[in-house]
């Protein structure tokens, strides 16, 4: 059968089984007994999302009122009725950030900020495209003369910052992968190496991302002392990698050292060389555990990234959040909440991506958690 890859299979592989339930609803394939299932898998989540937005709306309204009342009362006590009326009028108008309560934004404000960030992105991309077009001829000439090309140095848009963050996290993830997997294999294979490294792992595993960042900063700053380039990207991706590699290291070592004894016996009886033993027997059989480690590593990397970008002043979502917080403009709080949702959704998608790869690669198709 050729059509073995169906929508149902792909979504199930990605752990998004509810999508095929929705598809069944529209294609009329839903049986009566499936209705209960549909209720649980589609209706209940949607209802809970609506409930969440409702509570959020009411909460932000209450907080807004608390702060507004406080400001009016304060003006009344300190400067009298006229000033209080002025503050009340100013708040009612809701445009001046000097009097407007600065608190949890409502869902509507967040949605508006999301759209304004997209508009901003479109303006910046258009600007960038125009700049590239304008400088294309000049750059060619400059390159021909052996000079550096002129690059766009304008403000990055929100979307640019998302991609910048993704780039940092993948660089960090790859670093973690290339350090932790080989090291984990060696540690798992040799009890001597295991006892040599055990203290190291136990002590450095719980160290906070902030401290890792400072350590990397100390080292990289000195190493790149001659270079004029901005080292913030290098520093942040190395810190992300070092923070997040521990789960992979521990899981790989555990997977390798707990390979089924029968497999090891087979390898011994067949007199497989070390290379064959590792690549044909040990690694494939510990792949599920290695992937569990990598999945944790990626989600940890994404989580610590925000804090590290913030510290390293490396462009990305973390810096975006920090700058908006410092900025204190009218819609800054709403933009921070937008960033929060974007961070959460991307984290979820990264997790699904790893799950998909894991299900694709591993030999036993048991459902991963």
């Amino acid at each position: 059968m050729k059509q073995s890859i169906t929508l149902g299979k792909v979504t199930k592989l990605m752990g998004l089984g509810f999508l095929s339930t929705i598809k069944d609803l529209f294609t009329g394939k839903l049986e009566k007994e499936d209705f209960k299932n549909f209720l649980r898998k589609v209706v209940v989540p949607i209802a809970s999302i609506l409930l969440f937005i409702g509570l959020w709306h009411m909460g932000s309204k209450t907080l807004y009122n608390i702060e507004a009342d406080f400001r009016i009362n304060k003006a009344l006590e300190e400067q009298g009725q006229a000033a209080a009326d002025a503050v009340a009028a100013c708040i009612a108008l809701g445009e001046d950030s000097s009097c407007k309560p600065n608190t949890l934004p409502s869902p509507a404000q967040v949605w508006e900020s999301y759209r304004s960030l997209l508009r901003d992105h479109n303006i910046i991309s258009a600007d960038k495209a125009a700049f590239i077009e304008k400088t294309a001829a000049l750059n060619e000439k400059r390159l021909a003369e052996g000079k550096d090309a002129i690059t766009y140095t304008g403000r990055p848009s929100f979307v640019d910052q998302i991609f910048r963050s993704l780039k940092t996290v993948f660089a960090g993830f790859l670093l973690a992968l290339f350090i932790a997997v080989p090291l984990g294999i060696f540690i798992g294979l040799s009890p001597t190496l295991k006892s040599a490294f055990n203290w190291f792992i136990q002590i450095f595993k719980p160290v906070s991302p902030v401290v890792w960042y400072l350590l990397v900063f100390m080292i990289v700053k000195t190493l790149l002392i001659d270079s004029n380039e901005d080292s913030s990207f290098t520093i942040s991706f190395i810190s992300v990698g070092l923070c997040s590699m521990w789960a992979t290291l521990v899981n790989t070592a555990m997977g390798v050292s707990s390979v089924d004894k029968d497999y090891i016996n087979v390898a011994k009886v067949l007199k497989l060389g070390n290379f064959q033993k590792i690549f044909k027997v040990v690694l494939p059989s510990s792949l599920p555990l290695i992937f569990t480690g990598l999945k944790i590593t990626l989600s940890v990397a994404w989580m610590v990234l925000i804090a590290i970008e913030l510290l390293a002043q490396s462009p990305g979502l973390g810096l975006f959040v920090w700058e908006e917080f410092q900025n204190g403009a009218n819609d800054s709080n709403a933009k921070i909440i937008v960033a929060m949702f974007v961070i959460g959704i991307i984290g979820f998608l990264l997790d699904r991506l790893m799950l998909t790869i894991q299900n694709w690669v591993s030999f036993d198709k048991t459902d991963a958690i």
Partner: protein
């Protein structure tokens, strides 16, 4: 075609130093196995002597936990020897090697490989100088012999337990060992599948005549397959208790064996020993 089985005189060998050394394939001398425990040493095997001739099929029976598997894994080189020695063709063994093929109780196939790849894993290693096509031919030949000509490219995880054990048999024969060690290979199978696999095993064995040592719990299996049945005493300090020669002519058929007059005599002998 029915095979006529000649009746030879049953003789019981209690002393094992009988065979001329040129005929001996596998020699176990004063073998000892000790496991240290917090309460002192636990002696599993002691003073175990056994000689197995070239082209002989020996089955070993004994109560659970008597040390049969320990003995077999010592012959395979997977379990260190505490005292005495084991030699193959007069050479003391040091660790495992492809001169001794093992069929494990669990099929122990690499579940991410196809059946062909599983067999090739050993073949590639034992015949490094053969061409790729030759090695493929060897692996395919033995897979055909165990009746898996349609399952070369099936993943081991997609095969039934019985089919997996067939691959295990093919893998062991394909590396052309001098001695074949079988650790209750059919213990996990239902009785129908077990019968099928016994037939397959004995059919290949009749052709290859590889010296075989097989552990089993099944008295009928022990008689049907073996030239000699070795009975082990219960542990601790297990040793060879008794040896029974099975003088049915080869090749044997199950029907002829079951109908033979001596069959029940052999069976009674073994059961008497086990119930003793």
């Amino acid at each position: 075609m029915s095979t006529i089985i000649e009746h030879k005189k049953t003789k019981v060998i209690t002393d094992n130093g009988l065979f001329p050394s040129s005929e001996v394939m596998l020699d176990l001398k004063n073998l000892k196995k000790v496991y240290p425990t917090p309460k002192g040493d636990y002696v599993v095997l002691e003073n175990l002597n056994l000689q197995i001739k070239k082209e002989e099929f020996v089955t070993i029976i004994g109560h659970s936990g008597c040390g049969k598997t320990t003995m077999l894994s010592m012959i395979a080189g997977l379990n260190p020897i505490s005292g005495g020695h084991i030699s193959v063709l007069g050479k003391h063994i040091k660790g495992p090697g492809p001169d001794r093929g093992v069929i494990f109780q669990a099929p122990s196939l690499m579940s991410w490989m196809t059946s062909l790849q599983n067999v090739l894993l050993g073949v590639n290693n034992v015949f490094p100088h053969a061409t790729k096509a030759q090695r493929n031919d060897i692996a395919k030949y033995y897979l055909q012999k165990v009746g898996l000509e349609d399952a070369f490219n099936k993943k081991a995880s997609e095969l039934s337990q019985g089919m997996q054990q067939r691959v295990g048999i093919a893998r062991a024969f394909a590396i052309k060992p001098k001695v074949l060690l079988l650790d209750e290979p059919f213990g996990m199978l239902d009785s129908l599948t077990r019968g099928e696999l016994q037939d397959i095993l004995i059919e290949i064995w009749n052709k290859e005549k590889i010296t075989a040592v097989m552990i089993t719990h099944d008295v009928d299996e022990a008689i049907f397959l073996a030239d000699r049945v070795v009975m082990m005493t219960s542990g601790p300090k297990a040793k060879i208790g008794d040896v029974l020669n099975i003088d049915f002519e080869r090749p044997r058929t199950r029907k002829a064996v079951l109908e033979h007059d001596d069959y029940y005599k052999y069976r009674k002998h073994l059961i008497d020993f086990l119930e003793h």
